[in-house]
Subunit: 351 residues, 2 copies
DNA sequence: TTGAAAGCGCTAACAC
DNA sequence: GTGTTAGCGCTTTCAA
């Protein structure tokens, strides 16, 4: 069995409270005593029992991150960033997968397991605005994404409208006039698709280019295969366009694949831009232009806000925070020579 | 403050032990008592404090998964599978990222945080065979991958040699004779690269095809960019080959990109196969043939073995388990028409 | 500067 | 069937 404070105290010949003081860096410990205790700690290989500490102190040093699925690259990269941000503050991250299903999302918030952590970073997909009041748990919650606003929790979002507008303007600036969209959701107003569509329309309006529903590919779900299918359908309908805005990178890549199979050159015949700045967009052929919606900032902000809220649960009104974005021009809009082909990539260990 | 057992007991008018019995489904509780208690639980919104339960029972219901980085698709998919497998057994998963750095890998095993979980599933990358004796922690460890063998821990691996041999045979069966390799590690014998190279060589030997080091692309790290660079170098050297085996999918995709940029048709001019069966291989152009090394089985086996070891730490000698693999033929070897283009994909929620 | 004692919320002997 | 009691290992008053 592992050594306890008492064992250390016995070996060091002091009371176990003194050992506790040493461990917690209390100021009033004589140096000689401290040395004795540290020697005993080393000798016994003592490690504090975090469970006991948690019970006593009321916090665990862990946060829960709930996402749909890690195999979706966006969430994998988000989780990566959250774990790193948490580690900087000495927190560990417990990950729950909801599959994007409303039931499981609700379950995460009400599960007793949540109390193994001090707070929840919650990225719902199945729940919607109508569930805003159900976003609460026994621990502070920081909400991510565009499914739910005004939930009463702190909320971090991308600037979906402005970023989508900027992506559209990137294409317009390159002289493209007929920009097809892949991934719209019928009738959606908020939500990632709805907001990004609004940005798209704003960009058109600002340049007096009419909106044409005929070059908008609708779908129920941003599944990879749907991007390809929608692109294929637009081609078959014979509508004309000179660029494609995929409402996320995965859709854009699916669309790009279809265009290339059909014999179009990207970007010469058709320019393509995505949204998310997934790692893999740097490695497609051609590399995919996209929008970096500020994922690292989302992660860092989420951790920071959550920690503040944990420390001070009644610390003022819920915050609504939007992160900075950035259009990333690559080969799929700029062509082989003008793109930032040598931009630094993320570090990539050996596997 | 949240309700405790005592609060429930008071409201229900019973002793708090009775409440405990109800919660833990002890058999000897009168139905009427049980009903009263359950009513009180509902009324107070009581949720058991898992921290206290952990302290008392000595286990937490969590396991730690340590991987290099979640933004590497292989590890994202592994983590996804591990979380799902753990959830089936009511366990939650705490994820640590090591960056593939030896120091941080060692730190994960000695960190007191590890004791917030009951066991560790450990996928090292920086540590090597020489560190075999350092693989130990305060909790049971299940080791993953090919960096370290005979560590004294349970160990789950792919059949790297056999799977790589099968991938090579897939190309040979299609009539390819000069198979280039991308991703070899100079002098490595064990480790993913070394073992897969052995499988490659075994396949050649079995057909009396001479091994030719001139068509092997060496690199220090399986970084995405390195696959492309190695491919480019082979092309520039002017050596002849009719197929490429990327020792993982990422390398294969990088190589494929370079081949296409250089004007080769895949698979007509050059067939390409990878290793790992990442989701994204289904969506590249052309779709990438690869080997499914049994990732889901790895995850499920790791959880099962770990649970057994947690329950019974002295339960016999450490196990060495190899998972089943499967060659997945797609367009990059079979061409557009013969490939399993409509194989079912993983589910993919709306984002 | 150090020690004694209480108790975080729960489980598990054991008595009744 | 139900209640009493004693800790799990730690932090935190408070007293010495």
């Amino acid at each position: 069995m592992a050594a306890t404070l008492h064992d250390v105290a016995r070996v060091a010949g002091v009371s176990f409270k003194t050992v506790s003081n040493v461990i917690n860096n209390h100021p009033h410990v004589r140096d000689s005593t401290r040395a004795k205790v540290e020697e005993a700690i080393a000798a016994l290989g003592y490690r504090p029992n975090l469970t006991a500490r948690s019970l006593r102190s009321g916090h665990t040093g862990a946060v829960t991150l709930a996402v749909p699925q890690l195999r979706l690259p966006y969430f994998a990269e988000l989780a990566d960033a959250v774990i790193d941000a948490a580690a900087k503050h000495g927190l560990v991250v417990l990950i729950e997968q909801t599959g994007g299903e409303r039931e499981r999302e609700l379950e995460v918030m009400s599960s007793p397991r949540l109390k193994m952590s001090d707070g929840l970073i919650f990225s719902p997909l199945g729940m919607g605005q109508e569930d805003a009041e159900l976003v609460k748990a026994d621990v502070p919650v920081v909400l991510l994404g565009e499914r739910i606003f005004s939930s009463g929790c702190d909320h971090i979002t991308m600037q979906n409208v402005a970023a989508a507008r900027a992506a559209t303007e990137h294409l317009l600036d390159l002289g493209r006039q007929r920009i097809a969209v892949i991934g719209a959701h019928e009738g959606e107003v908020i939500g990632s698709a709805g907001l990004r569509m609004r940005g798209y329309r704003e960009a058109l309006e600002a340049r007096n280019i009419p909106y044409d529903d005929a070059i908008v590919g609708y779908m129920w779900s941003w599944h990879r295969a749907n991007g390809a299918a929608a692109m294929r359908e637009l081609l078959e309908r014979g509508v004309e366009f000179d660029a494609v805005f995929g409402l996320n990178d995965t859709l854009a890549q699916g669309a790009m694949r279809v265009l290339q199979e059909a014999g179009y050159r990207v970007p010469d015949d058709l320019a393509v831009i995505g949204f998310d700045d997934l790692d893999e967009t740097r490695y497609s052929l051609p590399t995919l232009s996209t929008v970096d919606p500020g994922r690292d900032e989302i992660a860092e902000t989420a951790i920071r806000v959550l920690m503040e809220r944990i420390k001070n649960p009644d610390g003022g009104a819920p915050r609504e925070i939007e992160t900075a974005f950035r259009v990333v021009g690559r080969e799929s809009t700029l062509g082989r020579n003008n793109s930032g082909a040598n931009e630094p990539g993320p570090s990539d260990p050996n596997r």
